[in-house]
């Protein structure tokens, strides 16, 4: 039986400095200063918040899924996980998490991967990598497709079996569940609130997320 690591936060929404809802299919890009804390709330449950991180002082240094999981010797992200960049720099640390487990092996959907996973006629559908590219193109002209590394899927449950299988399970998150991360170094956060309409994990119903930020205590 899998262990889930659920840790509640003592932070109050009324003390936050930022509070915004991002609808399914929309993107968000924002810089966190060291000590600031970002809470991502799964408003209606079983939504996937596809998230990438960049070193704000060196935008070419992106989040590394493999460095992050090999560093802790465990493939799941939860309270205590330090998210590392490709160069090994500490970007953010997960400090609270009522969902208990998040995926970083499954990556983001794209038009091209949709044709492989579902059917060729899904090519025109909206997808996370398009959202990532639109946000990057608006934020800073230095960013290109080269900066799209494999991301975190907050609220997604993608268990790996000892025999090397990989499955997609639902039922881990629920309305109001959240994950909180504190910036260790200046970090750019890029989110695609997933618009996936082909995946039973979200009951074929993408829903909003809410983003709340607190200054350092």
């Amino acid at each position: 039986m899998a262990v889930f690591n659920r840790v509640e936060s003592s932070r109050k929404i009324e003390n936050a400095i930022y509070d915004e809802t991002v609808l399914a299919g929309d993107g968000w890009m924002h810089e966190l200063k060291p000590g600031q804390t970002l809470r991502i709330i799964d408003v209606e449950g079983n939504q996937a918040a596809d998230t990438l991180f960049f070193d704000a002082e060196n935008p070419e240094d992106h989040y590394s899924a493999v460095s992050t999981i090999a560093n802790q010797g465990n493939i799941y992200l939860s309270t205590g996980t330090v998210l590392l960049s490709q160069s090994g720099k500490e970007l953010v640390k997960i400090v609270a998490d009522t969902c208990g487990r998040h995926d970083t092996l499954g990556g983001a959907c794209s038009a091209q991967s949709n044709t492989v996973r579902y059917a060729h006629d899904t090519l025109p559908m909206h997808n996370c990598r398009d959202t990532f590219m639109l946000q990057l193109s608006k934020y800073d002209s230095r960013y290109t497709k080269r900066d799209l590394a494999p991301n975190v899927n907050f609220f997604m449950n993608v268990p790996v079996t000892p025999s090397g299988g990989l499955t997609f399970n639902d039922g881990v998150s629920a309305p109001g569940y959240y994950v909180e991360m504190e910036a260790i170094n200046p970090t750019l956060v890029l989110i695609s609130n997933c618009p996936q309409l082909n995946n039973p994990c979200n009951d074929y119903n993408p829903t909003p997320i809410r983003l709340v930020i607190w200054d350092s205590l």
Binding site: M1, A2, V3, E60, D61, H62, S64, A65, V66, S67, I69, A70, G73, N74, I75, Y76, Q86, S87, G88, R101, L105, G106, G107, A108, S110, A111, Q112, S113, N114, T115, V116, R117, A119, H120, R129, T144, K145, R146, D147, L148, A149, P150, V158, V160, T161, P162, S163, G164, G165, L166, T167
Partner: protein
């Protein structure tokens, strides 16, 4: 074994080069306990690269062996695994860095150890990427040929030390023209206290075209659609496809 090209990469060594489509590329462990860290890029569009999540997700697997294909971020098949004597290759453990290598195996400099100094994956990749017009910005999750890393029910990653035997091999059939970037450096999760990298031999030969009964093509319906994407790409470029279908 016949071949049109052969190269041995010593422990700690590196190699990069373009290998055209329709080739069989065989990596053979010259001793037990090999690990070869590998990155793949489209030879003519270096922004298209091996994509670990797309590869794993589409084939519902967390390990790689015969039948699996290596997918790019553009929904195409880069290469197919047509032969494998180990049953498991890792793609979730990443590569070593200089500080990690020094911490684990002790500091070593070229000044002191000459060519026996302990090299690391990040620096080997960095040099070969720059040689090919890329930078560390282009580093993404890599393949670790010959390494087995499995996860228990809690997600803890376990390295299997006795996995790779001397003479074990894996053959990749290239489905597109590819840039290979290889670092023969240890898997980061290898618990061995001594620097364990061993020589790897690479041989390249012509591969037979993909036929309708091809094992990798028929491994999953997702694989067939990824092959179809690759063949469309070839036709649009004006290339003849390498399939007989």
């Amino acid at each position: 074994m016949s071949y049109i090209w052969k190269q041995t990469i010593p422990a700690g060594g590196k190699w990069s080069g373009r290998i055209g489509r329709g080739k069989s590329v065989t990596f053979t462990a010259q001793e037990s306990g090999a690990n070869a860290s590998l990155l793949l890029y489209n030879a003519y569009d270096l922004t298209e690269r091996y994509n670990m999540p797309d590869t794993l997700k589409a084939q519902h697997t967390a390990h790689l062996t015969k039948g699996h294909v290596l997918m790019s971020d553009n929904g195409r098949v880069f290469a197919s695994i047509t032969a494998d004597t180990t049953g498991w290759h890792d793609t979730i453990s990443g590569y070593t860095t200089r500080s990690f290598t020094q911490q684990k195996y002790g500091a070593s400099t070229y000044q002191e150890s000459r060519n026996a100094w302990r090299r690391n994956g990040e620096e080997n990749f960095s040099m070969e990427l720059l040689r090919n017009g890329l930078t560390t910005r282009d580093l993404v999750p890599n393949l670790n040929l010959f390494s087995k890393v499995y996860c228990d029910e809690e997600g803890n990653m376990n390295f299997v030390s006795s996995h790779c035997k001397k003479g074990d091999f894996i053959t990749l059939r290239t489905e597109m023209d590819l840039l290979f970037v290889l670092s023969n450096t240890p898997n980061p999760l290898d618990p061995s206290k001594t620097y364990p990298s061993v020589p790897i031999e690479i041989t390249v030969d012509e591969a037979a075209p993909v036929s309708s009964d091809d094992y990798c093509l028929n491994f999953r319906p997702e694989n067939k659609r990824a092959f179809e994407n690759t063949w469309s790409y070839d036709l649009l470029l004006g290339n003849k496809t390498l399939s007989t279908i």
